[in-house]
Symmetry: C2
Subunit: 372 residues, 2 copies
């Protein structure tokens, strides 16, 4: 079976690494000549909406998926008309627009922070009246990893925020002083069978995920999060992996955003779960039985942003596994990750501290906050 | 770092799958156009002794290894003169000749069955006087997976054996009615640090490995096997993974053969050990710290010979992991393997029975013998 992947970044790369042993072969499409998944399949370098490329994928592959939620919906729908395309392109629409996404959440009884659409300065003033300060002004589309956001702490910030973002369609959200962030990742088969990995507890820096730990053994939050993810998957008659990022505060969950794909906060599943998110996504879309999402031991993932630390030092730390995405270094770029995977929580803490210290002191402190 | 691999079979393929996340890139050389590791690196289709190809590897790669112990020694030595080559080509000499191998074992106080070199009919008659029946006549070179062997049960078999094998340099070995077969796999770093995975207990059919279980929790045999493997590795100042196949009988070990490479009986380590044999081989030859060889849970590996059974059925069995080598089916060819990996021994037995039954009844019985 040949599987086409729109997007050839690290998610496609890890999908291919998990999928080759399953007997799959890959067609990988990406506009960038140096896409890091390119060498793991037949590579099609083209814009996502290049019709010749999409026709080639349809001719070559038995089914299609994506590793990037900003694939143009028109391209996804064009391909989905020709070969099975999972998850449904409809999910992209909501992942690409923060307003539609939040409206969907609320329509499915998935709680969120207060939010208001903002198309004009008047809208903004009306919205801030309702949310109060602090609040976050965000672009509706093409925001990711903290890009296209402005935190409004006080009235003086309004003008600067408007100057920076006023050209876009926006959404104003109440700023939540949360106790923490977590994500629930589920997988749903073509037959509707659904499984969940244990929650990851996450830590972001400048809007970019920097740490995930799992299992985040909060039984109540786990029980509360799974139905939210289920509702989304059932709504879309979803096939594949879906991640839902959440805030928690006083034992309650607020949905922040969904990702209709494998997710950075699930990379720990490669070593830390019986079947990882990449393999289960492929099993789901290929119509194979889902793998066991149960965990083994205790995991912590560190993202390497902009540069990789010393591999030699990292691998000398007990329980560390290395994931170099094979990319050219660039500021802010996700270059790789490492996972600490140990039998006990104490071992995890000891190794995680040493690993985080290879990046910087701030990350080491964040590890202590999450685990200490 | 670029690593050249002489041989592009399933061992090279699994090495590359383990090595890409570590940040390695691969140059893979194999005479066969459809070598199953070919797509995971830069592929050099050529005979192993093709000097142009070997020069290319030396120009491209930082170091070299192999996935096949019948790589011509001259080719290995030629390449080793140009770039670091691990393990040492000297180990190939002994792995390629059963007589030298057994003599080496004995010189290192590694016990073996009785054996005698046979170059003539007269030698054979003299040797069988000493071993008695049954005995095994084997070609000294190019035998693997049970090929080039003849079991002599009685005097009448002598003539037929001689007609079949008399053109080759031979070795006659006492036939051991062993209690079982096992293998010890070790890894040795450039700095001499050595680690061992727990013993695998193995089952062969027609000379080809069909099942491995691990950990084979026999503390005494484990303690006895490790020093044997250590002596071999120290003798060669070895770098990388080395496997030693052993018979056990009445609590004693007899060495059967060595493989100076990752080994089929260690495939279970992909899921069943913290760091698998493929990753640790690469860590060793690249001078990185060795990974943890400790096990997680209970594993059983089934080889798929000649054809793969139904993947859908196999993956519906709890704890099953699938490894399709991406080869064209051919009788007797190793097409893939599956590993059962479970928390408890009972779960392993239940899943292993169902998995083996997908191949044939005889394999299911073998599982019962090993585990029941």
């Amino acid at each position: 079976m040949r599987i086409a992947i729109l997007g050839g970044g690290q998610l496609a790369r890890m999908m291919a690494l998990a999928g080759l042993p399953l007997g799959f072969r890959f067609d990988i499409a990406d506009p960038a000549a140096d896409a890091c998944a390119a060498t793991l399949g037949r590579f099609h370098q083209a814009a996502y909406d290049d019709q010749v490329m999409l026709d080639e994928l349809a001719d070559n592959a038995d089914l299609a998926t994506f590793d990037f939620e900003n694939v143009p919906q028109a391209a996804a729908r064009y391909l989905a008309d020709k070969i099975p395309f999972y998850p449904t392109p409809a999910a992209l629409e909501f992942a690409q627009d923060r307003l539609l996404e939040k409206q969907l959440f609320n329509s499915l009884d998935i709680p969120t922070a207060e939010f208001y659409p903002v198309s004009s300065r008047t809208d903004l003033l009306a919205a801030i009246e309702k949310t109060g300060y602090p609040a976050v002004l965000k672009t509706r589309r093409l925001g990711y990893d903290g890009k296209g956001q402005f935190v409004l702490e006080q009235a003086e910030d309004l003008e600067r925020a408007w100057q920076q973002l006023g050209d876009f369609e926006l959404i104003l959200e109440q700023f939540i002083r949360f106790d923490g962030e977590c994500s629930v990742i589920g997988v749903r088969g073509r037959d509707g069978e659904t499984r969940f990995w244990p929650l990851s507890r996450n830590h972001h820096r400048q809007g970019v995920l920097s740490l995930s730990i799992a299992p985040f053994s909060d039984v109540d939050l786990q029980a509360a999060a799974q139905p939210l993810c289920s509702r989304l998957m059932d709504h879309f008659d979803y096939t594949g992996v879906l991640a839902l990022e959440l805030f928690f505060k006083d034992g309650h969950l607020l949905a922040n955003e969904l990702a209709p794909r494998v997710h950075n906060s699930g990379h720990w599943t490669i070593e830390g779960a019986a079947c990882c998110q990449f393999e289960n996504h492929l099993r789901a879309i290929a119509g194979l039985p889902l793998g066991d999402t149960g965990v083994l031991g205790h995991s912590l993932m560190v993202n390497w942003i902009g540069a990789l630390p010393d591999r030699q030092q990292a691998l000398s730390i007990p329980g560390v596994h290395w994931h170099d995405y094979g990319k050219t270094a660039r500021p802010g770029r996700k270059m790789g990750h490492a996972t600490v995977h140990t039998e006990t929580q104490q071992q995890r803490l000891a190794s995680a501290r040493r690993l985080a210290a290879l990046a910087d002191d701030d990350l080491e402190r964040a590890v202590d906050q999450l685990l200490g």
